[in-house]
Amino acid sequence: MTQYDPVCGMEIEPQSAFAKREHMEQTFYFCSQSCVDQFDADPHRYMMTSATTGFNPQMTLTRIELPVSGLPLREHSTHLESTLRALDGVSEVKVNATANRLEVQYDAGKVDVSKLVGAVKSIGFQIGGANVKIGIENLRCASCVKFIEDELKSTQGVLSATVNIATQEATVDYLPQNTTLSQLNAAIETWGYKPRPATSDAPVDKQEEAHAKEYRKLMNKFWFAAAISVFVMITAYYQVVPVLRDWNMDSLRYLWGVTVLLTLPVMFWSGSDFFNGAWAAFKHRSANMNTLIALGTGAAWLYSTFAIMFPSVFPEGTSEPFYDVVAVVIALVVLGQALELRAKGQSSSAIKKLLGLQAKTARVIRDGKEMDLPVEEVLVGDVIQVRPGEKVPVDGVIVEGSSAVDESMLTGESLPASKKMGDEVIGATINKTGAFKFRTTKVGKDTALAQIVKMVQDAQNSKAPIARLADIISGYFVPIVMILAVWTFVIWFVIGPQPQFVYALVTSVTVLIIACPCALGLATPMSLMVGIGKGAEHGILIRSGEALQTARGIQIVVLDKTGTITKGKPELTDVVLSEQSSVDSDQLLRLAASVEKVSEHPLAQAIVEAAQAQKLEIAEVKDFEAIPGHGVSAKVEYKNILIGNLKLMNREKIALGSLEEQSKSLADDGKTPMFIALDGKAAGIIAVADTVKEDSAEAIKALQSLGIEVVMITGDNRRTAEAIARKVGVNKVLAEVLPEDKSNEVKKLQSTIVNRKSKIANVVAMVGDGINDAPALAQADVGLAIGTGADVAIEASDITLIKGSLKGVVTAIEVSRATMKNIYQNLVGAFFYNVLGIPVAMGLLFPFFGLLLSPMIAGAAMAFSSVTVVGNANRLRGFKPKFSVK
């Protein structure tokens, strides 16, 4: 029977073993002297680890708590309990569905954790343990895999463990409250292996790594091609090279023979991507940049080789090769690609910045114990402790403590937001002052940050309508260039000067090489990527390239009043006392707040909050009665108090005096006045109103200065609406609009003709809070939703302003205008480059100025035209909105 060396884990036959030892009634076999020595030094150590369970045999009953996800159904819980009880050795099972915890008491001698876990999983539940990958250095012997696995499994708290010899990594599911990473590492060390951080877990951006690798590869290819180019150039311009110019044609031909061989690896290694790509494209009946480069350099190489092998076929003086074209063009284009790759990496920096915001670990409290877990392992429902200065790892709701949280990275809001029990916290924000605990509600790809990142990525890769034209052009571009190259050859051959063949070939090769479909194809996507990323940095999520393009031409901005211009929540604005009032204004507010505390009316909330803000003590209320359509009556501190509208006062026959006049002027200002009477006498008025956000007026002014017409839309009465409009400087008000008619109003604005002569529809943007405004947001050319990062109402909109400020609308338009300008620059540049470059390459200037482009210049121009496009797009990274959201 095969045995295992307990020290190194090697598989050995007992009869061929190097040595044998008896220890505690067990026999051990060894492969070598060093293993025996190690065993003899501490035989008990190998005994310990050979046990199947790591539990103390004296303690027969073990209690374990397993976090189980998806426990809400009672009938399933009983099913789970009975399944576990059926296992031999399980003595007690408790299911705590609200905490998602399962408590099991079991005999460690009869059943182990992995069996319990298996049973739970077999009926469809998931065990929410932590999962970790640990790298193992120099893991070579396949048999050790099993030993390490067993060792890990027998460590207390480990649910399952697998070791992969190919990746040299152990993957362990464990209960973080029962074991720690260092215990797992110790288990690996007992087998003489050194644990290291897993490479597949290393927080390196995969794409970045791939780019770095590709960049190195391209640079190697470039340096090789460049070195060969130098040699090839010397042989090509032999007339000016001191020693070579004295050589005769035959010796030169031998030298060129060497360049034939040298340029081959340049073509098929340095330029392999062009030839492979060209062939793959050809098979797909398509052609791209690779086709052009491959054709150009291939034709040059074939001609040159033919010319030096059969010089007699060509007229005198035309049999000279141009391998220099082959080597130099490939070197330059490869260099261009490498530079382009480097520049591209910078373009996507916005996403990297966003991802970098993510916290790496979370301090989770499970089973009363605090433990640091990688953020990927945090479960929904976990309670997490956050100390001052730490990052909030995931999204959740505060259950204990309070603090100020800096949310500027997600919302652009520079003032820390104060958070108390019951308030939402967003992952990646920074806790400033206090410590708090929160219960997680969203983890992993559901967190606000993850969704923002995904949205930004999708938008960066979407298409602006303007790119469609470039797309159509590039679909026909390459074959057209090929046809142009053919006719360049034909024309030079038929009517060109001597030597016709050389001129014809050089010009057609130049045409193939100078044409750059890449610059055209890259123009839009590169700028979009930078522009949309730039928006995200300022708290503006642009959903697609189309939205970005449309936003540039916005002529009318429709602003929803409630929640967009205003805070969307009523606040106390005025306390007015009557002449005969027996109380002062604080007293009046205190009494009113005491009554309203009992009321459920939304306006009541504003009064209570105002009283609390002024630290007024709320009194006890008796005989509270709500009078529908009128107000409320109650008894506070032996006073009969009435709060309500004019109807209530008239019904109770209370003389109002000048109060009635004052209430009218308050209503004219868009406020809602409420009369208060104490013991049958008018005491005063308390007015509440939905107040305007601090920076709304400023933002509206900025929009108007951009030449945009601002319209306010609201369901409120005209008087209130106009009061608000006056305050913020909006001239056009659409009031008393039913929610379902909002989209119709937007439609009407879209069809209003600005200019009598041209019948171009208006580009209308609608700004709303996303929920009841959804149809209007969808109807508008650009729908901007004002919300927070956690809000899912983002869906209906084209652009989301994470921070609830109207200034975001201005910034969004600025970002859009800057990006579109950049795209135009790129497209126009790329277009003119080709439109001018190709005719010059064809030799159009030759009859007039005797000017011909060298294929090498063409190669350089082509390589750097696409680098220029990416570089210009990167200029956008320096974009700063003139009117930024502070």
Partner: protein
């Protein structure tokens, strides 16, 4: 005009016609996707200098599951975009990456790499 020149002109005409025919007018092979047991239309696409297969015919209203495997390190093809469906995905070299969506409209929708060098077409019927 000598015979050689006439020959070159004629060759030019023939080449022009060949290029135009090959790249624009010749019918392309289409790959029809079968519906799998799970009800999704699954197809595996290799990315190497192009998409193989590159013209994919699917049915309307059924989920489409496209699994791309990139077998090259050239940075051009590192991302695949479906602009009409607002979908995109990075394609790490050698790792099968699945894109799933349900086409609700019939028509021809292009997919491509970021700069449009590699192109394919999804025909929804």
């Amino acid at each position: 005009m000598n015979t050689l020149q006439i020959f070159v002109i004629l060759s030019g005409i023939v080449l022009t016609i060949l290029i135009a025919w090959y790249f624009w007018f010749a019918p392309k092979a289409q790959t029809r996707v079968a519906v799998s047991a799970s009800g999704a239309q699954e197809v595996a696409i290799t990315v190497k200098g192009g998409y193989t297969p590159d013209v994919i015919v699917v049915q309307k209203g059924r989920p489409v599951r496209l699994t791309f495997t990139r077998q090259e390190s050239v940075a051009c093809s590192e991302q695949v975009l479906f602009p009409d469906f607002n979908k995109s995905s990075p394609l790490p070299e050698g790792e099968p990456t699945t894109i799933e969506f349900t086409p609700e409209k019939s028509g021809e929708f292009g997919f491509q790499c970021q700069m449009g060098m590699l192109r394919g077409k999804l025909i929804v019927e």
